[in-house]
């Protein structure tokens, strides 16, 4: 019993770290122009560049957006050539149009608004100059307006030059980003699969374990001031600690009470909602960037272009996944874990300490999900919903590969990652490219419910 309270205390402590770090910090988060400009470390372009700038002087409450073509930079326009005559529309949280404006010669559009609310900026693609295509959605992430003053929208739309790349080139490029995305999903999916295998729990709070990695990295990077790599390392370690504490404080007592698996699944839904709301409470709903590696120039490798950080993400994920797979195949603990997931009762009667095996699975699984969150934060941005958005894709990957199998989770994730990124080339609307993967999930259950590598008996 004492251990349980200690575990709860540790879990609470890990969650409270950011609060303590924020206490002596300015509580107004992100959106301030100074922060988004300080985020620009590298001057070269990536396709998805942040197009917010600060030299404009609009007054009064409103949303200010500066639209530049980040792939067309020159000495005159170091951040990219401004795009003139593009219509931007601001939509409030109830979905009603607040107003629209056309960007001027400096690429600036200012839309006055009257109330504090969460706004979304929508770009009218028909008004883009010829030869310029959007990459990504034509809607910005929701922006929370906190002060009755100009709010600078972090508009993660990079207007890139519409070069007519050949289909082969596009395919190669999307395959590369699909593999990168698939590896991140695979880390989370392996974590989910380990926990599902040993405990049978379909963990709906798993997305928040991914988010935890991302937000902890943000805290140690921005509030404590560690370099991103160190902050990521600390985040993974703390994630592992959170996994241990979570098992000892919550799930182990439930297992001892003999709580049913479906009841535990619903508990995990409540736990997920709880964690998600706490993240939103501490970090607000705005999207944030780390201090380093936000924009990097891409190296040209012939048919594909990759930035340094993308190469690093692929390498780190590959090494971590390979390490876990080898450990699962070769070490005593790995064998014990596979034995427990095969048949817990038999494993227990063979003298294995099932509870400590499960505990290890939680630590390892949460650490891997945390690492997925760190890599996701480095790859794009930090948001309290980043993991929740990924959760269904992780479920899809695990189901596709076969619930509870390690290699299945790996193969499933790569397929899901590639489908998500390559889908738009084959007609999946690019603003909702996740839909392709979810449709594949539903279809695969029609023809092969046990997944690619799963065994028939597991589906009951």
């Amino acid at each position: 019993m004492g251990l349980r309270w200690l575990a709860l205390l540790i879990a609470g402590f890990i969650l409270a770290i950011p609060t303590a770090a924020f206490a002596d910090d300015d509580p107004t988060p992100s959106e301030s122009p100074s922060e988004s400009s300080s985020a620009t470390v590298d001057s070269t372009a990536t396709p998805t560049d942040v197009t917010t700038e600060e030299p404009v002087k609009p007054s009064g409450p409103g949303i200010a957006v500066t639209l530049v073509n980040s792939s067309d930079k020159s000495k005159e326009f170091p951040k990219g050539r401004p795009l003139e005559g593009v219509t931007l529309t601001v939509i409030d949280s109830s979905g009603a149009e607040v107003g629209s404006a056309v960007t001027d010669a400096t690429g600036l559009a200012f839309i006055p608004v009257e109330a504090l609310d969460t706004y979304t900026v929508e770009l009218d693609e028909d008004t883009l100059p010829d030869g310029i295509n959007l990459n990504g959605s034509n809607q910005s992430d929701p922006v929370k307006m906190r002060l009755m003053a100009p709010t600078y929208v972090d508009f993660p739309i990079g207007a890139t030059k519409g070069e007519k790349a050949s289909f082969g080139d596009k395919l190669a490029q999307s395959l590369a980003s699909g593999i990168k995305f698939g590896l991140i999903v695979a880390l989370a999916a392996l974590g989910l699969s380990l926990i599902f295998g040993t405990t049978g729990l379909t963990n709906f709070a798993h997305g928040e374990l991914i988010t935890l990695g991302g937000v902890l990295t943000y805290t140690f990077n921005r509030s404590v001031g560690l370099p991103v790599i160190l902050a990521g390392l600390v985040a993974v370690l703390l994630s592992a600690g959170f996994g241990w504490a979570q098992d000892k404080g919550l799930w182990a007592p439930l297992r001892r009470r003999g709580t049913g698996l479906i009841a535990m699944m619903i508990v995990s839904i409540g736990f997920g909602l709880f964690l998600r709301s706490i993240f939103q409470y501490i970090y607000s709903s705005s999207t944030k960037t780390l201090s380093q590696y936000t924009t990097q120039g891409a190296h040209d490798f012939g048919i594909i272009k990759l930035a340094d950080k993308e190469i690093a993400i692929i390498l780190i994920a590959t090494v971590a996944i390979a390490g876990v797979c080898v450990a699962m195949m070769k070490t005593r603990m790995g064998k014990a874990m596979r034995a427990v997931s095969d048949n817990p009762a038999l494993a227990a009667s063979s003298g294995m300490r099932v509870d400590s095996v499960i505990s290890t699975a939680w630590v390892l699984g949460t650490a891997m999900s945390g690492l997925a969150g760190v890599l996701l934060a480095v790859n794009s941005q930090v948001n309290f919903l980043m993991g929740f958005k990924l959760l269904l894709l992780v479920f899809a990957a695990v189901t596709l590969g076969g619930l509870g199998t390690i290699w299945g989770a790996l193969i499933g994730s790569m397929i899901i990652g590639i489908i998500v990124e390559v889908g738009p080339l084959f007609g999946v609307p690019s603003s909702i490219k996740e839909v392709g993967a979810l449709v594949v999930l539903v279809l695969i259950l029609l023809v092969r419910p046990q997944g690619i590598l799963g065994r028939r008996e597991r589906i009951g």
Partner: protein
């Protein structure tokens, strides 16, 4: 701190249109989860197809209002069949994953830019509710001091609680019939039912369709009472909140979802109002480094999450339920 205000906000929400939406959705989930043991995590999907069925038929296709209502009943039935065929033969958590995924697919498609012509994008669709509003017999608002409804809300409340009452009557009649007893025995032991020669798949499918229709009714009512259909109203959280409401009241009880929704909204609105007052004004009672007014609106979600966990751990049968009648031991 004005306790009267808190009470008024809580009561108005607990008896208002929002609680009705959740009561209807939770009645559907009760048929799925409470009586049959099906884990439908995509009730939001059923709600959205019904709401969009009405809105798209009436506004985008410019067909009569009543045809739209018919569409919003047909759409959830179709969705239930499409979902049920691949998953009802599998273990419970497969249905959970597929339904939650489908609800997200639908929400993303309804809100996407590419289908703006058909579904109105993230702004949604408005301008179909005139027929419904014109039927309003009330001429003024209702103000009982601690309970206050506008003219429109009063009409919605009348229609809504009538629907809930009829729904409860239907569920009560069905569940004491032989058909309802088969559903309960499927929840307890599927194989035993199968060995008695019952077609388990058909019964599960009927339950899925019926519960989905209640979900559709919830979506239709939501669309009518707020006169607009917006994709963000049909997020996964709605399903989870409906489950919370159901579990508060007690699954596998006719009135469980209704009482649960009333209590859920009473607590949610009451908490919201309390923390709103605590953080309101120039010199709030709670210091701003601890809680700002935007953070105050999140407290209720934190409490909901925690409440759902504790409820499931310590009293899974809710207020009225019977512990022996809860389908929580499957694998």
């Amino acid at each position: 701190m004005d306790l009267m205000d808190v009470l008024r906000a809580a009561l108005t929400q607990a008896l208002g249109p929002n609680a009705i939406v959740f009561a209807l959705a939770a009645i559907g989930l009760n048929i799925h989860f409470g009586y049959t043991g099906l884990l439908n995590f995509g009730q939001a999907g059923f709600m959205s197809v019904a709401a969009y069925g009405l809105a798209v038929t009436t506004v985008m296709a410019d067909l009569p209002f009543w045809l739209g209502i018919v569409m919003s009943f047909l759409a959830p039935i179709l969705l239930a069949i499409v979902l049920g065929v691949p998953t009802l033969r599998l273990r419970a958590d497969y249905l959970a994953i597929v339904t939650i995924a489908t609800a997200e697919i639908l929400r993303l498609i309804f809100g996407s830019v590419e289908f703006k012509e058909q579904f109105g994008g993230s702004n949604g669709i408005t301008g179909y509710a005139k027929t419904y509003k014109d039927m309003n017999p009330y001429s003024g608002e209702l103000d009982l001091g601690i309970l206050r409804f506008s003219k429109d809300d009063l009409w919605s409340v009348t229609v809504g609680w009538t629907l809930v009452a009829l729904g409860c009557l239907l569920v009560w009649l069905l569940m004491r019939s032989p058909w309802g007893r088969v559903l309960r025995s499927i929840r307890e032991d599927e194989d035993a039912v199968r060995s008695l020669g019952k077609n388990v798949f058909a019964y599960k499918m009927q339950a899925l369709v019926l519960g989905g229709m209640f979900g559709g009714l919830a979506g239709l009512f939501l669309a009518l009472k707020q006169a607009s259909v917006v994709p963000s109203d049909y997020s996964t959280n709605i399903t989870f909140f409906a489950y919370t409401a159901l579990l508060i009241g007690g699954a596998a009880r006719v009135l469980g979802p209704v009482v649960g929704s009333i209590i859920f909204w009473f607590l949610i609105a009451g908490l919201g109002s309390i923390f709103n007052q605590l953080t309101d004004g120039a010199d709030p009672i709670l210091p701003t480094w601890l809680m700002t007014d935007t953070q105050a609106s999140l407290v209720r979600f934190i409490v909901t999450g925690l409440g759902l966990m504790l409820l499931m751990i310590y009293r899974p049968q809710g207020i009225f339920g019977d512990r022996r009648e809860i389908a929580i031991d499957g694998r």
